[in-house]
C-alpha cells in the first residue's frame, strides 16, 4: 500500500520558533510538494521538488524554505514561525511529469501561538 507520511498530525509552536515539518514517501516518486490549506482559500502550493536537492517556489513561498537531501524525504522549514502560518500543511508526491496524480499525506495541523 503506497504511503505518504507526515511526522506529526498536530503541532503547537511559539512565535519565532524554527519549525520542521517532515514528509516521507515510500513510492520512489521524484516529485514532492508542500501545500497549505486554509478555510475559504483551498490548497495553495508553497514549494515543490522534482528531484533530490532540487526545489522550485510555488505560489506562496515567503516565510518558508525546503530541503530535499534524499529522494523519499521532503522537509518544510519555517525559519521563524508567525501566527499567520497557523494552518493545515499537506505533503504530496507523484511520478513525473507533474500532470500525474498526486498522493497526499494526512496533513499536519500547525498552530503558532
Amino acid at each position: 500500500d503506497v504511503k505518504v507520511t507526515q511526522s506529526s498530525r498536530y503541532l503547537v509552536k511559539r512565535t519565532g520558533e524554527k519549525v520542521f515539518l517532515e514528509c516521507v514517501q515510500d513510492m520512489d516518486h521524484e516529485n514532492m510538494f508542500w501545500y497549505r490549506q486554509d478555510p475559504g482559500l483551498g490548497l495553495r502550493l508553497i514549494y515543490f521538488s522534482y528531484d533530490v536537492k532540487m526545489k522550485e517556489k510555488g505560489d506562496i513561498p515567503e516565510g518558508y524554505s525546503v530541503s530535499r537531501e534524499k529522494k523519499e524525504r521532503f522537509s518544510l522549514i519555517l525559519e521563524s514561525a508567525s501566527t499567520n502560518q497557523t494552518s493545515m500543511y499537506l505533503c504530496a508526491s507523484s511520478l513525473p511529469p507533474t500532470v500525474n496524480e498526486q498522493f497526499f499525506g494526512p496533513g499536519t495541523r500547525l498552530t503558532v501561538l
Binding site: F33, G40, G42, L43, L90, N100, F104, G107
Partner: protein, 113 residues
C-alpha cells in the same frame, strides 16, 4: 493567469439524491489538464480523475461522472444516488504550461441520511 473557480462553497443533499459540483477554469493555454480530488474527513486528498484538454469525452465511473465542456470552460462532477460516504470536500484543479497545479477553493458536500 490560471484560475479555478468552485462557486459552491457548501452543498447539502439527502442520501440517494443526485448532486453536481461545478468547476469553471481559466487558462490561456490550449494544452492543460484538469483534476478532481476528494478530501474525506480523515484529511488525505484522494485522486478521482484527470482529463486533458484534447479529450472532451465525458467519463463515468460507477456513480461518478464528469462533464468536460471546453466551450464553457467547465469540468463538472456529478454523483448519482449519493451516499453518506460521499460526504467530503471536493477540489477541482488545473495544470497548464506553467506546470504548477492550481486548486479551486473546494466544495464541502454533506450527504444527509
Amino acid at each position: 493567469a490560471q484560475k479555478v473557480t468552485q462557486a459552491q462553497t457548501e452543498i447539502s443533499v439527502v442520501e440517494k439524491e443526485d448532486v453536481t459540483l461545478d468547476c469553471v477554469y481559466e487558462t490561456r493555454d490550449t494544452t492543460y489538464y484538469l483534476f478532481w480530488y476528494k478530501q474525506p474527513p480523515s484529511g488525505e486528498l484522494v485522486f478521482l480523475i484527470r482529463r486533458n484538454s484534447f479529450d472532451e469525452q465525458n467519463e463515468i465511473s460507477g456513480r461518478y461522472s464528469w462533464n468536460f465542456q471546453k466551450s464553457t470552460s467547465s469540468f463538472n462532477f456529478t454523483i448519482t444516488a449519493s451516499q453518506v460516504v460521499d460526504s467530503a470536500v471536493y477540489f477541482c484543479a488545473l495544470i497548464d504550461r506553467d506546470d504548477k497545479i492550481i486548486f479551486g477553493k473546494g466544495t464541502r458536500l454533506h450527504i444527509l441520511p
